[in-house]
């Protein structure tokens, strides 16, 4: 089974394990998109590692014919960090759910982002705990009734994008399970980015939170209710490509080209690479339309690069070439 060429196809990344999600679950499409992205990232299969926590989404590694680790709830960012630091040559992917990443795993999530370790994080946001059968998560809509909130939730949700950027995130993208093509393209970019790349994927849990994103993803509304941004391109959207985003003081305004004298030139041009994240925050925050695509991608040395550099530097300058040198250093005395 050892494919010694890099001419992989998506099928080369499909493991022998039966996929066990509910029929209709959005996870299937994401799995497909990932398997499609793999041949495009130019990495050998043995150099790819998928690490996950616990949840429906976290079963993902079993289905990828790469190295994989289905770990414990919430801890995948730390495990993935260990994997990456142990061997910076690996391409490391973290799979996580909204509960796994933002409830129990929230701390590791923000620290992975802060440290900027080169790990691609796929956050399957279905706004519910799937595996444990339907309790609310930190992204569940305010007031929604679930198994554990029969009278409706009373806590404000996180917006993952805002949290990522607030934690000093350098790469944030948003995708949907219904647009596999866009997702695949984002994944390839995420892998290229040095540092932590977070991709929020709006994912349909057909059993416990069916169609929660249909306002964005349903065929008839998706063009009007999604803005797909691309670096260097104006922010145009709409079924007729006649809507756009424009800056108005501290806020983004939705305008129509052709109305009130608005032309394409009035629209914001996306700058994903800008160090300052003000625009990215505005885009991440927008509720209707929702913004998809790579919202922020600011490059800088990653954590593992800095660590490697430091190790090399110290190695060069240290008087100790072996452990014996260290052990015999300092004040010693001989007994004859």
């Amino acid at each position: 089974m050892s494919v010694e060429t890099l001419e992989y196809t998506a099928k080369d990344f499909s493991s022998d394990q039966e996929v066990k999600w509910c029929p209709g679950c959005g996870d299937y499409a994401i799995l497909k998109a990932v398997q499609k992205a793999m041949p495009l990232i130019g990495r050998k299969r043995e150099d790819i590692v998928f690490v996950s926590g616990i949840g429906c989404s976290s079963r993902f590694p079993y289905y990828m014919d790469t190295y994989g680790f289905h770990s414990i709830h919430g801890r995948a960012p730390a495990i993935a960090t260990g994997v990456k630091l142990a061997n910076p040559n690996l391409s490391v992917w973290q799979i996580t759910g909204d509960g796994d990443a933002l409830a129990i795993g929230g701390n590791h999530f923000i620290h992975l982002i802060r440290r900027n370790v080169s790990i691609n994080v796929l956050l399957f946001n279905n706004r519910i705990y799937g595996l444990t059968k339907g309790q609310f998560s930190p992204t569940t809509n305010l007031g929604q009734s679930t198994k554990s909130s029969p009278q409706g939730t009373i806590d404000n949700p996180f917006n993952p994008g805002e949290l990522v950027l607030g934690a000093n995130g350098h790469f944030f993208a948003r995708a949907t399970d219904t647009n596999a093509k866009a997702l695949t393209a984002i994944l390839v970019e995420a892998e290229k980015h040095r540092g932590a790349s977070i991709i929020e994927i709006l994912q349909n849990c057909v059993i416990f939170n069916k169609d929660i994103f249909s306002d964005y993803t349903a065929k008839d509304v998706k063009l009007d209710n999604q803005v797909h941004v691309e670096h260097g391109k104006p922010m145009i959207f709409g079924a007729n490509s006649d809507k756009g985003l424009k800056l108005n003081g501290f806020k983004l305004e939705i305008v129509t080209i052709g109305e009130d004298g608005i032309t394409e030139d009035d629209l914001l041009v996306h700058d994903a690479h800008e160090e300052d994240n003000t625009l990215h925050m505005m885009l991440a925050k927008l509720q209707m339309p929702v913004v998809t695509g790579i919202i922020r991608s600011y490059g800088e040395d990653s954590f593992e690069m800095r660590m490697k550099k430091q190790v090399e530097e110290v190695e060069k300058n240290s008087p100790f070439k072996s452990v014996n040198d260290l052990l015999e250093s300092g004040e010693t005395w001989e007994i004859k």
């Binding site: 014919d65 770990s71 801890r75």
Partner: protein, 614 residues
């Protein structure tokens, strides 16, 4: 006041005590270093408050350093000081009850004013109340003397007063005929860039030395001759430092890169800090956001092929329980170090205790066996860290190494073990010669599975925390497989017994009483047993470095004695474990839970009582 209490001795215990800011740790380590270079055997124990700077002049703020030097072999920092250096009234108050009548107390009278002894909690001036009548007290206005000595060097008052610890050290150096050059060298290294401070410190040191030479309080200086130590190159090591070095050595010997995932916590932080200095060995030191990330990052590194370590103390180990279970299920090599401190909860963070044994054995959900080992002295931390890494890598299992605040902060001369003299470490890896390698295929002798990790082509596989099929490692919920895997995980750990040293007995090899101890109490229990032997009592000592699995000859050793007394710094944890594992024996127990090590006298008392009882 008596006459000079110190005669020629072959051992002496000195305690330096003062305010947290008085530099007593430094004074103590200097005395230690000098004595080590003279060839004495040594044991030390620092003892400081939980606060960074506890309130000045109070008993809570006293910082102490006890050092035991000898011409004979030394195993403990000593039950009680022969010489107490008390830099202020609080230091006297905090330590007086440990000093036996007739012993020497050196006092800085400048800090024994009314406000000082009141703050320290004395009802009356201890220097005049008669409380010290039966001690050999040497009074010296050290602060004033130091200030006088340093006049003219251009130092401000604060810097002058700060040097008084060197004055005290100088006095003690004179008392024990120690040369000053070790400390002078040290000071030059430390204050090289601050010539006035350097000059001040050296001047204070010499002034103290000369003062002692001059005054009449000492009738003579004493000498402690070199100990009869095995030939070799020595250095003085602290337990935590030795632990760090043991891992560095294991990494080199195994050809693995070292990964440490850790979160600071007293008294374990020094291991992290020591390793952080050694990035030159490719040691990847990762200060995580918490203990859970510490262990899980290490598990990730183990999955990816590193020698993975995580270090902590009790409360941190509690947080690592769930993840440790994952390492058990995935059968990855991992060493967890727990430097025990007083509990429960935050407890007594700077005090020592052995109360995490049950947690180490059982602090996880499910049947979740790991190897548990413990270090018996500061220098032994090196060996046990090395051994723990060896077992983890060769047996594909998590190993828990227990040390404690006492050995971690204590120091001892250590005969340097060059890496070529250490055992080899051969990680249990899959290799190309294996046909159809399977993730959970095992060595038939050790039951270790074969490690394969990312980067190796043809070994792509998935593991995780769900129960695994006995061969493929795929998820399996079948009843028989679960029962079998439960058995295999335990059996794999038990078989480590085939690869570790047998239990050795100190003192009598059979007889009336076997004292059982483990971990950091070895110095105390050995000293106690040696006393028994000297008194022709048939008492042996079985000290455990390896707790799970127990050495193979444990039952055989136990059966040679009429009684077994298990001595521990907890309420009886090893004894419970032994009752569960070897129920055929009857165990008595001696326990102490005061945040302090055993005193040898306490042990001898307990031994005698047990011998007499029926």
């Amino acid at each position: 006041m008596g006459t000079t209490a110190i005669k020629e001795v072959d051992k002496v215990v000195i305690k330096f005590a003062g305010d947290s800011g008085d530099g007593m740790q430094l004074t103590g380590t200097q005395f230690t270093g000098t004595s080590a270079l003279l060839g004495n055997d040594i044991a030390t124990f620092p003892d400081y408050p939980a606060e960074i700077r506890a309130p000045q002049g109070t008993v809570a703020g006293v910082s102490g350093f006890q050092v035991h030097i000898g011409q004979a072999h030394i195993h403990t920092p000593g039950d009680s000081p022969d010489v107490l250096v008390a830099m202020n009234a609080a230091a006297l108050k905090a330590n007086l009850r440990d000093v036996a009548k007739g012993k020497t107390i050196i006092i800085d009278t400048d800090n024994f004013k009314r406000k000082d002894w009141e703050k320290a909690g004395f009802a009356d001036d201890p220097l005049t109340s008669g409380e010290l009548r039966e001690y050999h007290v040497i009074e010296a206005p050290m602060t004033t003397l130091t200030r006088t000595a340093l006049e003219g060097l251009g130092l401000d008052n604060k810097s002058m007063v700060r040097s008084k610890n060197m004055f005290a050290l100088g006095m003690v150096y004179w008392m024990f005929s120690r040369p000053l050059d070790y400390t002078e060298r040290f000071l030059k290294g430390k204050f090289g860039k601050k010539p006035e401070i350097l000059a001040g410190n050296i001047k204070a040191l010499k002034a103290g030395f000369n003062y002692a030479d001059t005054i009449e309080a000492f009738s003579s200086a004493s000498a402690v001759l070199p100990a009869d130590m095995e030939p070799g190159l020595y250095k003085n090591v602290m337990g935590n430092e030795a632990t760090a070095w043991g891992f560095l050595a294991a990494a080199e010997k195994s050809g693995k890169e070292l990964f440490l995932g850790s979160y600071p916590i007293t008294p374990a932080t020094d291991i992290l800090q020591e390793l952080a200095k050694h990035r030159h060995f490719g040691a990847k030191v990762f200060q995580a956001e918490d203990e859970i990330a510490g262990i899980t990052s290490a598990i990730g590194a183990a999955f990816a092929g590193d020698l993975a370590i995580t270090t902590t103390s009790g409360p941190g180990l509690a947080l690592k329980g769930e993840a440790l279970g994952l390492a058990v299920m995935t059968e990855l090599p991992l060493v967890v170090v727990d430097v025990q401190r007083g509990g429960p909860s935050t407890g007594l963070p700077t005090k020592t205790e052995q109360s995490d044994l049950m947690q180490a054995l059982y602090g996880r959900n499910g049947e979740s066996p790991v190897v548990v080992v413990a270090a018996k002295s500061p220098a032994d931390c090196f060996s046990m860290a090395f051994r723990a890494a060896k077992i983890a890598l060769e047996h594909m299992t998590p190993v828990l190494l227990l040390t404690d605040g006492y050995v971690a902060n204590g120091s001892q001369p250590w005969k340097i073990q060059r890496t070529e003299d250490l055992d080899d470490i051969t990680p249990h890896e899959a290799d190309k010669s294996m046909q159809n390698w399977q993730p959970y295929e095992r060595d038939t002798a050790s039951l270790a599975r074969y490690w394969a990790y990312p980067g190796q082509s043809g070994y792509e596989h998935r593991i995780g925390g769900l129960e695994k099929d006995e061969l493929t490692g795929n998820v399996s919920y079948t009843p028989e497989n679960h029962e079998k895997m439960t058995y295999v995980r335990e059996e794999k750990v038990q078989r480590v017994a085939n690869y570790i040293p047998e239990l050795e007995v100190d003192g009598s090899q059979e007889g009336d009483l076997l004292v059982v101890s483990w971990g950091g109490t070895y110095g105390s229990t050995l000293t106690a047993i040696n006393k028994c032997t000297a008194q022709n009592k048939k008492v042996g000592l079985a000290h455990f470095n390896y707790i799970k699995p127990l050495p193979k000859n444990t039952a055989e050793v136990f059966s040679k004695f009429k009684k077994i007394l298990v001595a521990e710094l907890n309420q009886g944890q090893l004894v419970k474990y032994l009752r569960g594992e070897l129920p055929q024996f009857t165990y008595q127990q001696f326990n102490k839970t005061q945040g302090l090590p055993f005193r040898v006298v306490e042990l001898n008392h307990a031994i005698n009582k047990t011998l007499e009882s029926n």
